[in-house]
Symmetry: C2
Subunit: 105 residues, 2 copies
DNA sequence: AGGTTATATAACGGTTTTGTTATACACGGA
DNA sequence: TCCGTGTATAACAAAACCGTTATATAACCT
């Protein structure tokens, strides 16, 4: 149970097609930040800021491996079930564009 | 099932504490616009624009009765179940401030 | 018709969002 | 230590958001 203020803050984070798609991809497992840079037609700094916003909202966890940073959904977030429910309503367009095997932007 | 673009547009409409609270109140039944003006510490034009935004997103239906306009949730909206689910996560703060019996701003 | 009430629209301003480019930081390898 | 790769931050600009006040429109009532 959340206040309207709390929920609206999280919804603001979710209310972006790029971020929704990123989250959807993370449902398939951990994603390297560089894979997002590959996937979307926006700059690397833009991707970085989308990730930061979701991290600050408590929706993501990160794991550093050498120079790569891998992001995943934070299942302990109080909003995790809401995120999962919403992502269940999202259809994926371009299926896969991960570069996890060999990260090289 | 919706595209990320479609869903993000609706989430943008939902991502506001005033609008979330208005929607929550409409779950209790039709609400006269003037009751919202009573409830919130924002101007009447601001209320009017919030309502317009939700109407344009297909989330609301309106019914005119004399000079009063009553708004209610649009159960036929493709996003209705999402709205209901989200509202289920919202706790109401100030219980009731309706003026439906005698509308007089 | 004229006045009152309810709602909507117009015009404006401050803040937030979201992209960009340029630059800094972190890490690994020759 | 220097260079390349991956990621983050800074500074900026355009657009959207959300409030305000002023004004218009719609409906009711005498």
């Amino acid at each position: 149970m959340h206040t309207a203020e709390e929920l609206s803050k999280v919804l603001k984070v979710l209310a972006d097609p790029t971020r929704l798609t990123m989250l959807k991809q993370m449902q398939d497992g951990e994603q390297c930040a560089c894979s997002f840079v590959d996937c979307f037609d926006i700059s690397q700094p833009a991707i970085s800021r989308h990730l930061k916003m979701m991290r600050q909202a408590g929706l993501l966890l990160e794991r550093r491996d050498k120079q790569w940073i891998h992001y995943r959904l934070n299942e302990a977030s109080p909003f995790y079930s809401i995120v999962v429910d919403l992502l269940g309503q999202v259809e994926m367009i371009d299926a896969s564009c991960d570069c996890d095997a060999e990260c090289a932007i």
